[in-house]
């Protein structure tokens, strides 16, 4: 065996075992996203792991009132959901958001319940993966307050959230769920959240792209594994990029 090929062999072996060690460490420290497998798994994992290491406690940019966009945009297309239309007609007075799963006290919140919890108002940018963006003032209850009220069990690792629109289900890890800027938003620019932006309540997490900010929230579930929830879709699970 020539010295060069021996050197290559050693380098290849070191590289392979280095990757295996890195994968084990990533798993141990919660740096592996649910979509870490498949063709795009390496890219998804590198993005999620590096952002978790660099941005775990960072705060999304907040802007001045003068920066609020005069022309916010919502790409919502009209939909016909009887339960929604009925609730809209009564000013969402009967709207409920159920919180279940790995919690000590499963609870169903009305809008009034949410408004009675501590509120937070922040001016952030919403950026869509398509490329457009706008800045608005968002008001809501920090998701961490809701999770505190239902007493999340220690084994919970993800929050799954559902829209009244079928097939709109997303999930986030506890780092994002407990982040101070993650809101169940019910207000926008000083008024109630408009229908196009997800009335009465949307998920608002300004450190991720628009598609994680699900509108018309009806239910939250706390779970310890996304195996049965995460469908290998075409969009990456972590959308901080």
């Amino acid at each position: 065996m020539s010295p060069l090929s021996r050197r290559k062999l050693i380098a290849a072996a070191a590289g392979a075992s280095g990757l295996a060690v890195a994968a084990r460490l990533a798993d141990q420290y919660g740096l592996t996203p649910p979509d870490s497998g498949g063709l795009y798994g390496p890219g998804n994992t590198l993005t999620y792991a590096s952002q978790r290491l660099l941005t775990r406690h960072s705060l999304a940019r907040e802007f001045a009132p003068a920066d609020i966009a005069k022309a916010p945009f919502a790409k919502l297309r009209p939909f016909q959901i009887e339960a929604y239309t009925r609730s809209q007609a009564v000013g969402y007075a009967d709207w409920r958001i159920g919180v279940d799963g790995m919690v000590a006290q499963p609870t169903s919140f009305s809008l009034a319940d949410l408004r009675n919890l501590p509120a937070r108002t922040q001016i952030n940018q919403l950026a869509c993966e398509e490329g457009w963006s706008f800045i608005a003032e968002w008001t809501g209850v920090p998701l961490s307050e809701v999770l505190k009220a239902v007493k999340v069990l220690p084994q919970a690792r993800y929050v799954v959230y559902y829209s009244i629109q079928k097939n709109w289900v997303q999930s986030i890890d506890m780092a994002d769920a407990l982040h101070p800027q993650t809101l169940l938003a019910y207000g926008m620019n000083g008024a109630d959240l408009p229908m196009g932006h997800g009335a009465p309540v949307r998920m608002w997490l300004p450190r991720q792209l628009g598609y994680k900010n699900v509108k018309f929230i009806t239910r939250l579930t706390l779970i310890d594994s996304l195996k049965n929830f995460y469908k290998a879709g075409s969009y990456s699970w972590y959308a901080g990029i």
Binding site: Y40, G43, A71, A127, G131
Partner: protein, 207 residues
């Protein structure tokens, strides 16, 4: 001696072809992403309700973009975004290996820094390669990171010095167009100065 010393080192050949794969993946997926919103803006706000800086005269893959076309292209953003970021990671690692090794083995000094009596590459070529390696690709990575809401939450300066998310996106697009221009000239030059010979040199090391 001439037979032993390759025209291109193994490192140059490997990183060249890895970068080639990455750049084509980035350009293809980047184009598909642009198709979802072929309008460009400046600042932090830019959307179908605001005037644009300029539009690319192509149809869009989303119905809410007013392009003047009566039809909408299929949405390809899912795989495009995944491929874009995977290729971005690979070209970052490839570029790091290439730059660090080329500093250590003096590849930059010997072959790419403009010289009084340049060998192999003339000074215009040298400046073209250096501007791709040290200006365009780093700028593409920077403006790409500046569009990431997660990254700018930790490093807001990345986007504020550019003027905002939409400014970063517009510069990202301009940089990619300059890379396309470089690629076009690069390929034309290879074809005109002996395609087979130069390809053999970049694959085997020897012309």
């Amino acid at each position: 001696m001439a037979d032993d010393a390759p025209r291109h080192s193994l490192l140059v050949r490997t990183t060249h072809w890895l970068s080639t794969v990455c750049v084509f993946a980035l350009l293809l997926s980047g184009f598909e992403i642009v198709v979802s919103h072929p309008r460009f803006y400046w600042g932090n706000t830019g959307n179908p309700n605001t005037p644009s800086l300029f539009d690319i005269p192509i149809p869009a893959s989303r119905p809410w973009v007013n392009t003047g076309y009566s039809y909408v292209l299929p949405d390809q953003n899912g795989w495009s975004r995944n491929l874009h970021f995977e290729a971005a990671w690979l070209i970052i690692f490839t570029g790091l290996v290439y730059v660090i090794a080329s500093l250590l083995n003096r590849h930059f000094r010997k072959n790419l820094l403009p010289a009084a009596e340049p060998r192999a590459y003339n000074n215009i070529q040298r400046l073209a390669y250096l501007s791709v390696i040290f200006v365009l690709l780093p700028l593409a990575i920077w403006t790409g990171l500046a569009m990431s809401p997660g990254i700018v939450s930790a490093y807001p300066l990345l986007v504020t010095v550019l003027g905002g998310t939409q400014s970063a996106r517009t510069i990202h697009f301009a940089v990619s167009m300059l890379l396309v221009l470089f690629l076009f000239v690069h390929i034309v030059m290879v074809c005109r100065t002996g395609f087979r010979n130069l390809m053999r040199a970049m694959i085997t090391g020897h012309s």
